[in-house]
Structures are given as structure tokens and as C-alpha cells.
Amino acid sequence: MSSIDTSSGDSHKKGPGVKKAKKLSTRVDMTPMVDLGFLLITFFIFTTTMTTPTTLDLNMPKDIKDPKDQTEAKESGVLSIMLGKGDQVYYYEGKLVVDATGNNFKSTTFKGIRDIIIKKKAEVIGRHEHDPTCAKTQENAKAKKDPDWANACKDRDFIIIIKPDNDATYKNTVDILDEMTINQVRTYAMVKILDQEYELIKKTEETSGIK
């Protein structure tokens, strides 16, 4: 036992001259990859358009010069809505009456107009009388697979006339058209405002100080 095997404890040690292979770490530095990843994320977040534009259909009537061809409406079922400056809404039911005692011209806002439309609609439907033409309208609606055919003719006398004035914004116009969809108003028309109505709006704006 002249020599002591010193290597017995470290069995992996090869003899002298055998080079030990350097153990490489399997871990990769991920930091640059993460940097790049987040850079791309920010780029896509900024360029992406999340709000998909939608469309609102608008059908306008043809201008009819001949009064004979014009559609007549029952006065009791008409609600005229006018749009003015500063998101104000003006309305009257039936015909505009201006006399010494005052007028039926009222003002409200976009928040209030929905209730007025709902009230007027309920009132017109409540006055509805069933007749043969009505039954026919219902049948037609049923044939067209309208899921709401039973209500197809109850509101036939309910008409809304929209008159934006020169100070109304496009947003107001779209909002009121949207209100027609929200309240399921079947018949509505957008027409030019009358001078008399425009003057009344101007007067109301002056007294209430809307700029």
C-alpha cells in the first residue's frame, strides 16, 4: 500500500490529461425575447381598431310636389320633434297651435324625449280600433315572418316627424334616429323645419339662454 488512491472518492475524475467537458447551462437568458415581445404587443395595441363601425340605415322619401300624392296622417297620432342648439329637443303633438293663451310647443332634452315617445305611442295604440285593413296588414306581416306581426298595425297611426334645425349637430340627428329604433317607431320622417317652428325655437333659446 505504497500509493493511496486519492481519486477513489471522486469517481468521475478521469486520469490526468483527460479534459473535463465544461458543463453548459441549459438556461437561456429570456430578457431580450421578452423585450421584443412586449414591443410588438404595444405596437399591435396601438394600431388595432377594436371598435368595428356599424351602419344605421336611413331611407328618405322622394320629394313629392303634388299635394294629391302626399300621404295623409291622422293629426292625433303625430308627434313632431325638433332639434335645436345645445342638445335641446322641442316637440309638440298634432298640429302646432299658437294663440293668445300660449302654445303646445314644449322643450325637453334627449333624456326626456324617450318617455315622451313611449307615452305618445301607448296613447295612440290605446286608441286603436281594429278594422279589416288592419287584419290584412297583420296577415301580410305574418306571411313575411315578422315575429312581431300581432303588433304590426296597432301603431299604424303613430307617426314621428323629425325636424332638425340649422344649429342641430349630426350627433343629435343620429341620436334621434336611434331613438326611433330603440322605441320601435315604424313610421317616421325627416323633413325641413318650418319658419314658424324655427322662430319659436329661437325665442325659447333666448329666454332660456342657450348658446
Binding site: 395595441i45 381598431t49 371598435t51 356599424t54 351602419t55 349630426y170 330603440i182 322605441n183 320601435q184
Partner: protein, 218 residues
Amino acid sequence: MPSVKMPRKSTDTDMTPFVDVAFLILSFFMLATKFKPPEPVEITTPGSVNSQKLPENNAVMIIVDSSNRVFFSVLSDKDPGKKDAIIQDVNSSQSLSLSNAEMANFRQTFAVAVPFGNLKQLLALDPKEQANLKQPGIPVLDSANNQLYWWIAASKKAFAGEKLNYLIKGDAKSTYPAFEAVINALKRNDEFKYNLVTSLDDIPSNSELDKFNQRVKN
């Protein structure tokens, strides 16, 4: 007295889950993204409850910006020949004497917002430089000189026999007279159906429309 030895913790963290999440988000955005088409003006559209999708081809888009300038643009990526037909028609109906190169330039022009008198000047520019030119808008408010009428008449001819959609994209702040003038130009061309471009709003709960949708669902 032996001091309490704090175990020495490594400062590197395992980044793998972090990378996983980052790339998940990245792939979501890459797939969900749809690049905005170049637009000459920034338009904030008003909201509406309608959820119909916008037609992207065979459409004429009329843009009204916040200062009531009217822009006219043709969306026909599938058939750029339509744009050529439109500019040729406008050229001859208004006798603008545009050169062939200028008319060819119209293909790359996204939107026109100049009176006919300045059209030559606009089309002479490179499409990239057109964005820098301050365009005054197509004159529409004077009903005797509603130039949008001619643009629509030309597009109607170019798209004859095909369905053409009229998109009106107005800024929420634009006022009604400009919108009315646009509609009048369309009406004079016997076109009565339009699509107003809006962004989606929620349907107010308990409204008639909401109740109707519930009924249809059940």
C-alpha cells in the same frame, strides 16, 4: 453564538411563464388587428344601437368632418377600374382637362375634398403629399352649386347594374345643414337609401327594442 444564516436566494426569476403570456397576448393582437385605412381626417362617429356591418366594397363614402367639410371617396378595392371611370366621367362632364397621369393618380387618392376648380391641382400632387394639402371641402351648401351631385352621378354611372352603397360618415360635431346638403345631392340622383356610419352603443335595457329582441330570442 452562531449567527442565523439567511439562505442566499438567487436573484434571477424564471421568465418562461412571463414569456408565455406575452406571446399569447401578442398572437391575439396580431390576429385581431385590422389596420385602419388611411383617412384624410379624424372622424368621431356618433353611437347608435344598430349592429349591422359596414359594406367595404362597392360603396361611395361621403365624409363630413367636424368643420363641415365634405369629402368624397370611392371604396372599390376589388375593381379599381371603377375609380378610373368616375374620374373620366367627372373630367368630361365638368370639362376639367385633366391629363391622363392626373386621372391615373385618382386611383391612389383616398378622398377628394376640393371644388372642381382645384381638382387638377390636387391630382397633380403625389398621393403621399395630398394629405398635406389643406382641402377646403366639396361645395354643397349652395343648392345651385352642389358639386357632390356630379360626383354621385358619375359613380352611379360607373357602378351601373351593380349594387352601390352610399355611406355617410359624419363627425358628431358637424351640423345638420351639411348633412342635409349631402342628402339633397343624393336625392337629386334619385338615391333614397343610405347607410350612416356609426359606432356601436348598447341597447338601453327595458326599452321597446330590448323587449322585442327578448321576444324574438324566446
